[in-house]
Symmetry: C2
Subunit: 104 residues, 2 copies
DNA sequence: GACTGACGTCAGCATGGACTGATACTGTCA
DNA sequence: TGACAGTATCAGTCCATGCTGACGTCAGTC
C-alpha cells in the first residue's frame, strides 16, 4: 500500500540528479567534492539537491574535517522497495484474476 | 541498477494523482468513469494523466462499448520494484560494510 | 591572523508540468 | 436521426521546480 510518505519520497527521487546521487551513495559513502566529480553538477546545485535529500530523510551527513560526507539511509530505500513490491504483487494478482469492475 | 527508463518511470509516478490511479488499477481494472469517481479529479484532468500513463506504457486500454477500461501492466511495476530492491540491497551492503571513499 | 578550500544558503530567472474550460469524436438509445 | 453520455485533445494559465551566481560560514593551513 503506498502511503503519502511514499508519494513524497517518489517525488524526491523523481529528479534525475537526485536519483543519480542516491545511486552513487548506495555504493559508497561520499563527500560533496566526490559527488561533484561523479555527477558533473555545479557545487551549489548539488548542495541544493543534497538539502532536499537530507530534509526528506533519505541521506544523513557526517562531518570529516572540512569535508561533509553523505551516507544513504538504507531503510528508507528498503521501505520504498517494499511498497513497490506490494504494488507489483497486487497488480500481478489482479492481472491473473482479471479483476474488472462492472460498467457503471 | 537504475536505468534511464527507470528514471522516466519514476517521474511519471511522481505525480500524486497518477500514483493514485496506478494504486487503484493495481487492485482492479477500471474505466474512466470509475476513476473519476474514485479520485475526485475532473474528467479532462484525469484523461490528461491517463494519456501520460498510457504513453509511458504503464497502462493499456480496453474499449468496452462507449466505456474505456484501463488496466495496469504488472511487468512494468515489477521491473521498477526489482530495480528498487537492487538499490536497497546495495545500500544495505554499503551501510554494513561502511564503504567510504577517502577524502580527496 | 590571513588566506584558502569546502560547502551551505539565498534571491532571481526560466521553464516544464498540472489544471482548467472548451470542444470534438464515438457509442448508445429512443 | 437527434440527443445524450463517455472520453480524448488542445490551448491557455499559473506555479512549482531546477539552475545559476553571489556570498557567507566554517575548517584547515601557513
Amino acid at each position: 500500500m503506498l502511503t503519502s510518505v511514499d508519494t513524497d519520497l517518489i517525488r524526491v527521487l523523481a529528479d534525475p540528479l537526485r536519483l543519480q546521487i542516491v545511486s552513487l551513495l548506495a555504493r559508497e559513502t561520499l563527500c560533496t567534492t566526490h559527488l561533484v566529480e561523479e555527477t558533473g553538477a555545479r557545487q551549489t546545485n548539488l548542495s541544493n539537491h543534497l538539502k532536499v535529500l537530507r530534509e526528506a530523510g533519505v541521506v544523513e551527513t557526517e562531518p570529516c574535517g572540512r569535508f561533509t560526507y553523505y551516507r544513504l539511509r538504507p531503510e528508507v530505500i528498503e521501505s520504498l522497495a517494499g511498497s513497490f513490491a506490494d504494488l507489483a504483487a497486487t497488480a500481478r494478482a489482479t492481472a491473473e484474476n482479471n479483476t474488472k469492475r462492472a460498467c457503471p
